[in-house]
């Protein structure tokens, strides 16, 4: 990109900040079974009384992105209205036999695998159309997964805000500190989306970062 174009782009982003959009489109991303839909359900239930989608122990339960518009979050005097997009879990491989290990019949496992690949394509395409991301990481797992690295890299390259929800702190083997030391450049809130632990701190951070 040439110098003039870059200066023009930066002026445009300053003007955008001055006349900020009232609604930010925020994607909830992460690997399968990190707790994205559980978190989306918690946010939607706390602020609208509804739910977003079904959750399951079988990976790739969410195979279509779902958007909930106009969710207003108020915390510590800040107020933000968000369109929340719950995305299918990102992965680089889909093996139908993994679903069979969870008790699915072969045909159903293959159908789920096919739908999961389509869901991942959808999730990747949504990256181009967001104002920010809540990246849900499982605190019981290695934080340097390729999905985490790729999502963070994309947000950094686009200079879009990113908030890490370090999930599953209700589990004994949980280690949010491992994630914090892996990605110290981004804000992180340890939570349990399932139990609601520390969720008010997450709302404060959401209002602060995406408002």
């Amino acid at each position: 990109m040439g110098l003039i174009k870059r200066v023009k782009k930066n002026f445009s982003s300053i003007f955008k900040n001055l006349f900020k959009k009232k609604t930010a489109k925020i994607g909830i991303y992460g690997p399968p079974n990190a707790g994205k839909t559980t978190l989306a359900n918690r946010i939607i239930r706390d602020w609208t009384g509804d739910a977003m989608g079904a959750v399951s122990r079988v990976p790739h339960e969410t195979r279509r992105a779902r958007r909930r518009e106009g969710v207003t979050i108020e915390s510590n005097g800040s107020k933000v209205t968000l369109d929340i997009v719950d995305t299918p879990g990102l992965a680089t491989k889909i093996d139908f036999q993994e679903f069979m290990a969870h008790g699915l019949e072969e045909e159903e496992a293959k159908r789920r695998a096919k739908e999961a690949t389509e869901g991942i394509i959808e999730a990747v395409k949504w990256l181009d159309d967001l104002d920010g991301v809540i990246l849900v990481m499982d605190t019981t797992q290695d934080p340097f997964t390729q999905v985490n690295v790729t999502v963070i890299g994309n947000m950094e390259a686009r200079k879009l805000p990113l908030l890490i929800a370090a999930n599953k702190i209700d589990l004994p083997e949980s280690s949010p500190a491992r994630i914090r030391s892996a990605f110290p450049q981004h804000p992180l809130v340890p939570i349990s989306a399932l139990e609601g632990q520390n969720i008010d701190t997450l709302y404060e951070e959401i209002a602060d970062h995406f408002g």
């Binding site: 782009k9 930066n10 890299g153 950094e156």
Partner: protein
């Protein structure tokens, strides 16, 4: 195993890089990229991989790269030039390459034959 230099990749478009990687991996090769892919190319690679997965033959890829870093030069920060420093990346068939451990500067993987 193919070890691909930064110079070779520099002259290729994003789609050419992704095609080169996927064609190699589908033949059972492990691909090592000296300078990796940009984050948007990685996202595109995931997307293309999903279109090529078949239940019996190709379950997808295992890809491991070190986290990229942003250019910290003052002049680039003033003009907000988005220079991403990508790093070594290993890609292989999901049924042959398995990551054992990974941290900021070390990737430990197991490679097996089909």
């Amino acid at each position: 195993m193919d070890l691909i230099s930064e110079e070779k990749m520099a002259g290729m478009t994003a789609m050419e890089k992704i095609r080169l990687i996927l064609d190699g991996v589908k033949k059972g090769k492990i691909i090592v990229l000296e300078r990796g892919l940009t984050p948007s190319e990685e996202a595109k690679l995931i997307e293309m991989t999903m279109t090529e997965i078949t239940p019996e033959d190709f379950p997808g890829i295992e890809i491991e790269s070190y986290p990229s870093s942003q250019n910290q030069k003052l002049i680039d920060r003033i003009f907000r030039k988005p220079v991403v420093r990508t790093r070594l990346t290993v890609i292989g068939p999901a049924n042959q390459l398995k990551t054992l451990r990974k941290d900021r500067d070390l990737i430990s993987a197991l490679v097996s034959s089909q």
